[in-house]
Symmetry: C2
Subunit: 290 residues, 2 copies
């Protein structure tokens, strides 16, 4: 969007009759001015599906265990919040969800796990890769001890791995960390139909906007009022969008800072609805090869 | 299967009229006497699909980069071999595949990457969690340097992470390791229809076998001769199955020990064929809750 801003300004200054319209796209959902971004709904569907399946896996054991899933999102917790979506329609979801919008307290984390294990042995935690301690340091940088790799370099092992070490040290129970990694942004076999439909819609609207003379704008997806989810497309001036970040609002996070609210679930739920069944060939999804 | 062996022997010795029939089940596909095991085809489909999607993701960049995917299988490389399945039907697959059946040579690994990068910048590698150096040590134990976690404990970070550190040290290019972790055994939304059909088939055959008086056996899935894949079910005496491991045959591994052969692909390919479309509810696969 920064490039859209610069190109459109350059064209205007130099009287080039070229129109530059930005089409948003990021699994992080952190762009200003639009209700949400193309790509996010599909990534959220992958994260929520994977959490639901991991819950099935870990819930068959009777030993105390903690499973920590690290989700993409350095500054904004939208994808991590989506990990809670299995609770919609009465299913169980992760026990604890930590977003980067609130600082992370290791002692409260351990106390929360102990309390949950009074009720059931398998605890599932979702954490954003970008969670930070109260002093601003990333949790992925470690807890003060020096993490050293096989060559003696200080290693950044990620928030999930650091919390795995912490649980092992403080609680001694079985613990595993899982980094969802690249699949959360490329698992196209699990795309959200809502996301794909809107992606086509907002792209088409961008072409129309350009033909109508618009330039220096980003297309937006706006959610209509009402109980049934629907959207319309519009555009917003690129200034003020280009370098901003749209965080998860603090009132979408619960008072203990370890979960999300009903309102947040209501925002997220429609975005993952619907499936795009890929064509399979020899048992694998067919991709277009250019 | 060890329990089947003990229970059936106990019943026989004590003249209990109880029949014990084992039904195989493991994503590792490492049981003797059966062509393959229920669960494996679905896990293999997940691994192959994920590799194909990661390939799409990493191939859009022009900078040199190495992506290392660590796959389950401590002793047997079946699941890791499945990572190569995207090459069936002419698609590209991972550049390098390392199974635990052959020892791992770090120098040859680095040389192979350098050679591949003369052709294309993004190198995709699949490694089994159980690969070992020539001296028998697991690669996941590290390269001789001491890996230390945030609390000063010696850390086992896994084969993928160790190779990530190695590439960073020796080649200096962008490198990422991905551990497929629990999803490879629980991603039921990507189940193989062949696997599910045979699971029902072999379970039914087990009940029939018991009613016919069989005990102390494991059911087997046997592949019929011929060009078109089909199977039949039988049973084999439990002795000799209970504690054995079926490894990937060495002639399924290429002469450079960094890939699999056509024959191995032919063995694997039919097992992932067909999809079981789950029922979705609010955008997520519905699970049976007991």
């Amino acid at each position: 969007m920064d490039t859209v801003s610069k190109l459109s300004a350059y064209a205007k200054e130099n009287d080039y009759e070229i129109r530059v319209v930005g089409v948003p796209k990021t699994v992080d959902n952190d762009l200003m001015a639009t209700d949400h971004t193309p790509g996010f709904g599909s990534a959220a569907k992958f994260v929520a599906t994977t959490m639901k399946e991991i819950l099935r896996d870990i819930s068959v054991y009777t030993l105390k265990a903690v499973t920590i899933v690290e989700v993409m999102g350095r500054d904004a917790g939208w994808l991590t919040a989506s990990a809670a979506l299995p609770v919609v329609s009465g299913n169980i979801g992760p026990d604890l969800v930590y977003l980067p919008e609130r600082s992370f307290d290791p002692d409260e984390f351990i106390a929360s796990i102990q309390k949950i294990q009074e009720d059931h042995p398998a605890v599932l935690v979702a954490v954003s890769e970008g969670i930070r301690f109260a002093d601003g340091r990333y949790v992925g940088e470690g807890l003060g001890g020096r993490k050293v790799d096989a060559f003696g370099h200080v290693a950044l092992s990620g928030a999930g791995k650091v919390l795995e070490d912490l649980v092992k040290e403080r609680l001694g129970c079985k613990v595993r960390s899982i980094e969802l990694n690249l699949p959360q942004r490329c698992a196209s076999h699990l795309a959200s139909l809502t996301d794909i439909t809107e992606s086509v819609g907002v792209g088409s609207a961008a072409v129309l906007a350009a033909t109508e003379g618009k330039s220096g704008v980003m297309m937006t997806i706006n959610r209509n009022e009402g109980d049934n989810y629907s959207v319309c497309y519009d555009s917003a001036d690129i200034s003020g969008i280009a370098n901003g970040v749209k965080n998860v609002p603090l009132d979408y996070i619960n008072k203990d800072h370890n979960g999300i609210t009903e309102e947040c679930l209501n925002y997220l739920a429609p975005l993952i609805v619907g499936e795009v069944t890929p064509k399979y060939e020899n048992g694998l999804p067919r991709h277009i090869i250019i």
